[in-house]
Amino acid sequence: MADTAKVIKILKCISAKIRENEQFLTDLDAAIGDSDHGINLARGFKKVDEKLPELADKDIGTVLKQTGMALVSTVGGASGPLYGTAFMKAGAAAAGKNEIDIDDFLVLIEEAIGGVKLRGKAERGEKTMLDAMIPAAGAMKEERSKGADVKNILEAGVRAANEGVEFTKTIIATKGRASYLGERSIGHQDPGATSFTILLEAIEEEF
């Protein structure tokens, strides 16, 4: 179970981890993109950090929506609208809620994925963040259906996300900037899939 305070704690942890990995994510983007993914997300989550204090007495839906709006208005590039939409969709699904459990969380993740797909017009297998998001959601749903506990569910999600990142190394990008490289994109992991995995790791740590 997570209340607003916990959600805020999770968001702080996400923010810290993303900002720690700024250079790493930027370097990944240098290989197959334009050297800004870490910079973009770090700028965005810095803004999120600044906004969180004033959200302490809001419902979870509002917290997530405001997080999404902060990202949309600071990140820019492709990942700004995508992560922004993801958080805003999750926020909409959590509207009015002051507590969420793991089932709610799985719904939010589904909503977030739906938002990313719609906004980016992409599917799994195109070497994007979706290649970490979709398998992670699938694995978590499966663990849940087996009756696993929260910790195991989230661990399974992180594992699947990491496998998704590994998988992105083996495929050609057909969406986003990396698609311009054609064959040259093979061998490199997708920055967005990587940043999502970092984000999920933070959730796993703090949920």
């Binding site: 930027t26 492709a78 609208p81 311009y180």
Partner: protein, 330 residues
């Protein structure tokens, strides 16, 4: 990283400040944003707005002025601006005739501009969009997100800007912009990479005898790496791809030889020398040539060739007066 800057997190802001202080007769800022608009708002025409990451100077702020853009929205270096900034730009220049957004075809740019357009439409502003995709380096096939927008975008600004200045309707301005897009193709190469300030190191490394063919404008690698060749051979490689993509035979063209930011003009003229010869040979008539830095990638060294196929309408609009800091037609 060696740059003439103050701090990596201030480059965009100080660049815009420096531009505004250089050209107060042309430009002003929308308060509280980095959005650049004309010093004097024009109300009787379709407003043209463009933008994209910073690092492409003079694009796009340098093209704000008579006969070209009404607003330019710069993002962080090589990063599409955010919807709220674009929305501020749209609001600042919107007229009853409507707003045309000139967007370069990148996932981020398209998404951010479209989100801003939705916000503006909610306010009752008429907004239309064209997406420039002139780069023939990448196939516009199913397996990519389509061709990128590069230096050819400047022709869209120029010609749609001239059309807007006549008082034409949003539909007409959009149609002429799309005509330019349909008729312009570009391709680029580089011999030296660039460094995003906040990243601190170059996007790629190149050996002393290597070049990248088919680069974009965001410091990324190209579609292939080759041994460095002579200027003439390089021009031939780029032109071959451009001429294969669109039928230019028996037509008149405008040529743009665009430096990537650190290319000496001498080298651009040497490139143009070959471009002119090849086009003459193929009986493609050069109507006008532009050599310079129009759409750069920080301190990248390299160049792009853009060919715009002209008809009488496009010629006339290309020749119309333009008075902006970065592009002037007298």
């Amino acid at each position: 990283m060696k740059k003439i800057i103050n701090a990596v997190d201030q480059v965009e802001e100080q660049m815009v400040d420096g531009m505004l202080k250089a050209y107060p007769q042309y430009l002003k800022r929308v308060d509280g944003t980095n959005v650049i608009v004309r010093a004097k708002k024009k109300t009787d025409k379709v407003a043209l707005i463009s933008g994209g990451g910073s690092g492409h100077e003079p694009a796009h702020g340098g093209y704000v002025g008579t006969g070209m853009l009404d607003a330019a929205v710069p993002g962080a270096v090589f990063t599409s601006p955010t919807p709220d900034q674009i929305y501020e730009g749209i609001k600042a220049v919107a007229t009853d005739k409507g707003v045309l957004m000139v967007v370069k075809n990148y996932t981020g740019d398209v998404m951010n501009f479209e989100m801003a357009a939705d916000m503006a439409r909610d306010e009752g502003i008429k907004v239309e969009e064209v997406v420039v995709n002139d780069d023939v380096a990448v196939d516009g096939s199913l397996y990519t997100v389509g061709r990128r927008g590069v230096a050819g975008t400047v022709f869209v600004h120029k010609i749609a800007g001239a059309k807007a200045e006549t008082g034409a309707s949003l539909k007409e301005v959009k149609a002429i912009a799309e005509k330019v897009i349909a008729n312009v193709r570009s391709m680029s190469m580089a011999i030296r990479p660039c460094t995003v300030p906040a990243a601190g190191k170059p996007g790629f490394e190149l050996g002393d005898d290597e070049m990248e063919i088919g680069i974009g404008i965001h410091g990324e690698t190209g579609t292939r790496r080759e041994k460095l060749r002579s200027a003439d051979e390089i021009v031939d490689i780029l032109l071959e791809k451009i001429l294969a993509d669109l039928d230019y035979s028996n037509s008149e063209v405008a040529v743009m030889i665009n430096g990537c930011g650190a290319t000496p003009l001498m080298e651009l003229f040497i490139a143009n020398n070959r471009v002119a010869d090849v086009l003459k040979d193929k009986e493609i008539n050069v109507y006008k040539t532009f050599v310079g830095e129009y759409m750069t990638s920080l301190e990248m060294e390299g160049f792009s060739i853009s060919l715009l196929k002209l008809d009488d309408e496009l010629k006339k609009l290309l020749d119309e007066r333009a008075d902006t800091p970065g592009f002037k037609i007298i």
